[in-house]
Symmetry: C2
Subunit: 157 residues, 2 copies
Amino acid sequence: EGAVVSSVSVDENQAKISVFRVPDRPGIAAKLFQALGSENINVDMIVQNVGRDNHADISFTVNLTDLEKALSLTREVAGCLGAERVSADDDIAKVSIIGIGMMNHPGVAGRMFQALARAGVNIEMISTSEIKISCVVRRADAQKSLEAAHREFIEKN
Amino acid sequence: EGAVVSSVSVDENQAKISVFRVPDRPGIAAKLFQALGSENINVDMIVQNVGRDNHADISFTVNLTDLEKALSLTREVAGCLGAERVSADDDIAKVSIIGIGMMNHPGVAGRMFQALARAGVNIEMISTSEIKISCVVRRADAQKSLEAAHREFIEKN
Ligand SMILES: C[C@@H](O)[C@H](N)C(=O)O
Ligand SMILES: C[C@@H](O)[C@H](N)C(=O)O
């Protein structure tokens, strides 16, 4: 079979913001992201996992240069939404593998996660599409993560 | 500006599995997804948000036809990992908008979430990449969600 993963990359210019325990009902995600959009803040990853007891956490990443503006806007909106708290983290890196139809290749995700694990890297967030698997890790692990993914997917093929 | 979103879709043939409160340390995601991969189970979305007190939740979707096998395997692995519990949900739909460089168009995500909100649809999970924003909703909301996204992005352009 041909190489499934065509490239690996790491982005060290992002920050993440998390909004904890927003009400899990229609209109909440809309309010937050409409506010960010109206200020022309580019959002890259958006991650929300299943909620519990009618509340959910929503995290997203922005360019480091937009962090201050995004954070103050998020705090404002989160206050209106009744969120428990907002956190910001400018010490992240986003490591990604890109390929075609990766989701039809069982095992690709496991290989990526194992490559990071072998390098001692903790995976803090995961978001996927058919063409991309992205993991948020510590900024200090950026190069180590890129090399691990490169060894696993580019050098072996 | 040209249309950013080129198509909208809904997938009613998926189920989700969530593994709650796994240890948030290297190797955990690897174990779970290597196991699924070794059984040739195709995984579509994988979502993990930031953890709390050293534990994280990991959710993923599979084809309905793979649910039984995926669930029993996940329960096995989750047991070894010390997860608090595993849940399965075969009543979901995944609604997506697809486009080019969506993440450079602030406001696209907000428009999608607002379209769903206006239709009274609750967003249960969110996962994104530059070319795709996907939301997990109730299966019963599948058509309503597709129509809302279509009205917002295809009919307006
Ligand atoms: C948490 C948030 O996604 C909410 N469920 C909404 O639909 O907006
Ligand atoms: C929770 C899981 O992603 C863990 N942090 C890992 O690196 O495998």
